[in-house]
Subunit: 344 residues, 2 copies
């Protein structure tokens, strides 16, 4: 069993902890939190050993009546690998601690690519990170774009990618985020960081990205244009995408018009927290004009990187091939069943 | 003086009425309304003669204590030209009435192109509509795209246009519209109608458009990619756009991040109803990668077609050249002063 420590039990950490626990070859040895809040309470209820992420704040847990198993350095010491789900910037600050204990670590996509040895998307570059000390599981948007690009570049070749990312302003629980009634070019100067970030996975991909922020919380939505090196018909592209494990091509008959309906559907399907681990590509939107492919896809910012973190554990430790790991991860969390009847 | 009738005194009609009244060569002979609501009250307060758009509802005006000058057919009869600002679909239904009275009419962009003799954007095809009986002033988005395309195709040539339109869900007063917390591909099948609609102005332009709807009310925002036939630097493109009368290239120092700030700025500048008649192009966003030009622009859906309607009156009646009309319209409504110091 791979002993996994989770440092940071927030939006990503808590989801990764649950996904790791579900794997047949892994166990969660503990989770670290900075302070006793509602997520710390849930961690304790879930039976995870809790560690204090910040030594000076240990007393706060005692005041809240929460028992600690120790400090974060002890967690790192007893872990074969640590998934760092701390807020952006803190992950990079934690790297010296992981290196000191000789414990490999996975950072999240909010960290700078320069802070890590390698960036990771299971479908794209699983085989490149074995033995790395610090690996970054890229952001939700970069994961979503890389998953889409992977089969299309392999099958048709991509001459140029142009993507407008219509981003949710904040997660549902981030009550301080905006905008409330606006459409913000964000960043206003181009390209947005997403294109260069995809280049950490596919260095030779010619990609330009533009980002906006809007008053929505549920999922990001991408308006995608790929100029291919050949001219497949739309139906062939659709079948190719339907064959991908972590792409959900939304069938027309489901009558799903946006992220609200997608999340409702995922909740009805019994997904934990209504999570959608797959890219959701509107089947009806897949269109080819000459060599230009167009489509819309939605990405659940809280969830799509979760199976990627699980795969990255095996990829770094070299305990399974990409094919084995992706299959195991999907089966363990229920992603293999998919959200709707479709040829997968 | 050109005698102008306004049939429909809603979002567009009331703005066009005010803009027509401000012109030195036009007068508003009356406005027609279907029912006595807050806009009818404003029309009376503004001193416009009011006509009943629907004969059977005349008594409702009497009940509300509003005097009528007559029915809409009388208005059409006394007008040299009618601007039809009725809801989408009604304009086309009114066409037989205008033809019966031999009165030229301007419909709005919600009508089908097949319902009219010609479509119109002053900057693009002013000279083509003289003597036409029924002309369509195209929609806010099509107007905004055509104005942007005009100088760029003239100067650099456009090989291909790809635009994602992030559309406001409804106008501020349209309280029944959505979405509330979602990002909707809309339409989900591609292309959206915007590209074909631009082709009513520029038939040979190769343009693909994608539309989304989001929970915002203030302005539409376009994520624009134009593959040019040459490779100008971004600064040259910026200077070209700054030289256009109905494009406002937003300077960085204004610190305007979205539609909210743009509308606030327009209100502070004393614009009626906070209207923004110009396309607003974020200067900082103008970027050229090879032959690919990228930029963001915002379009005020309630206002940008207003000066176009005024110009279309002169264009159809043949009373002024494009240059004369655009200058006269801009000076009369205050558009020539611009929103901020810039080289125009």
């Amino acid at each position: 069993m791979i002993r996994v420590g989770i440092n940071g039990y927030g939006t990503i950490g808590k989801r990764v902890a649950a996904a790791v626990r579900a794997q047949p070859d892994m166990e969660v040895v503990g989770v670290a939190k900075t302070r006793p809040n509602h997520e710390a309470a849930t961690a304790v209820d879930s039976g995870f050993d809790l560690y204090a992420a910040v030594e000076e704040r240990r007393s706060r847990f005692a005041e809240a009546g929460i028992d600690l198993a120790g400090g974060v350095e002890q967690l790192v010491e007893v872990s074969d690998i640590v998934v760092d789900g701390c807020p952006s910037g803190i992950g990079a600050e934690n790297v010296p601690m992981y290196r000191k204990h000789d414990t490999p670590a996975l950072l999240q996509g909010g960290e700078d690519a320069a802070a890590v040895d390698s960036s990771f998307v299971a479908r794209a570059n699983y085989d490149t990170v074995e033995g790395a000390e610090v690996v970054r599981v890229v952001s939700c948007n970069t994961t979503g774009l890389s998953r889409l690009v992977a089969p299309l570049r392999e099958t048709y070749g991509i001459e140029k990618a142009r993507v407008t990312l219509v981003r949710r302003g904040g997660d549902p629980a981030q009550s301080g985020r905006g905008p409330i009634n606006d459409i913000l070019p964000n960043p206003v100067s181009l390209p947005s960081h997403h294109g260069p970030d995809v280049n950490t996975i596919y260095p030779d991909l010619d990609i330009d990205t533009l980002g906006l922020k809007v008053p929505a919380t549920l999922m990001h939505t991408h308006s995608v244009n790929l100029t291919l090196e050949s001219s497949p018909d739309a139906e062939a592209v659709r079948e190719l995408l339907e064959g991908e494990r972590r792409l959900f091509v939304v069938p027309e008959w489901l009558d799903i018009d946006g992220a609200g309906a997608l999340k409702e559907f995922a909740g009805d399907a019994g997904r934990p927290r209504g999570d959608i681990w797959e890219n959701c590509v509107w089947g009806e939107s897949i269109t080819v004009e000459g060599r230009d492919l167009y489509l819309f896809q939605a990405v659940h910012q809280e969830a799509d990187v979760v199976p990627e973190n699980v795969d990255a554990i095996r990829a770094v430790l070299g305990t399974a091939t990409a094919e084995e790991s992706i299959r195991t991860t999907n089966e363990a969390i229920g992603l293999d069943k998919g959200l709707a009847p479709s040829p997968r």
